[in-house]
């Protein structure tokens, strides 16, 4: 089984400042990792994913995340945020290449509300 911990429930930051949203996971097998974004009254949209290869993953809207296997972390970063980045961000995990089952179930963290202040 996997679990995900998002260390900050709320992150306020001023416009054009950098931001880091933290995510740690726990798993006994190799994993795939994801960040989703949820804008108010909308469903979740995939920001980026780590499957294999380079540990630095780039996503949409200027976001990137770094997979750190030794620290079991997958933190999300953006060098300069905009008002439009205000949303809730979810980290998620699913079993990786060793998975032999059928439908992959995503396990989500509890979410981080990013609020960008003018």
């Amino acid at each position: 089984a996997q679990s995900v911990t998002q260390l900050d429930s709320q992150v306020p930051v001023f416009e054009e400042a950098p931001v880091e949203l933290r995510c740690n996971y726990s798993s006994s097998v190799s994993v795939y990792l994801f960040w989703y974004v949820q804008y108010p009254n909308q469903g979740l949209q995939l920001l980026l994913k780590y499957l294999s290869g380079s540990t630095l993953v780039k996503g949409i809207n200027g976001f990137e995340a770094e997979f750190n296997k030794s620290q079991t972390s997958f933190h999300l970063r953006k060098p300069s945020v905009h008002i439009s980045d205000t949303a809730e961000y979810f980290c998620a995990v699913t079993p990786g290449p060793s998975f032999g089952g059928s439908a992959r179930q995503l396990t989500f963290g509890s979410g981080t509300q990013l609020t960008v202040l003018p």
């Binding site: 995900v4 998002q6 429930s9 795939y32 994801f34 989703y36 009254n41 909308q42 469903g43 979740l44 949209q45 995939l46 994913k49 979810f90 699913t94 059928s102 439908a103 992959r104 179930q105 995503l106 989500f108 963290g109 509890s110 979410g111």
Partner: protein, 113 residues
């Protein structure tokens, strides 16, 4: 390209009533999922389906029933709604070969009074 839709978007019902939430996808994705979203819990999986007529329980299935007679539809039924089922419900789908990459509907906000 309609993608994945949910109806209704908002629903208020009374304790004990039966409620069905609809989910429809136009991509012919094999996998479909139902999640509920509650403050402090993120999203939790209720049920999922690998194909038509194949369904399985997720993390929080009690009080819910699903069916999947057609690939594109995956309704979720609350047979006797309780206040603890007040939540936002999301449907998602994914392809068989990339089952981990899930596409989400806009959600249904359900209030049980």
């Amino acid at each position: 390209d309609a993608g994945i839709t949910q109806s209704p978007r908002y629903k208020i019902t009374e304790t004990g009533r039966q409620v069905t939430l609809m989910c429809h996808q136009t991509w012919s994705h094999s996998y479909m999922f139902w999640y509920r979203q509650d403050l402090g819990h993120g999203l939790r999986l209720i049920y999922y389906s690998a194909a038509a007529d194949i369904t399985d329980k997720g993390e929080v299935p009690d009080g819910y029933v699903v069916s999947r007679s057609k690939t594109e539809n995956f309704p979720l039924t609350l047979e006797s709604a309780t206040r603890s089922q007040t939540s936002v419900y999301f449907c998602a789908s994914s392809r068989r070969d990339t089952g981990y990459e899930q596409y989400f509907g806009p959600g249904t906000r359900l209030t049980v009074t």
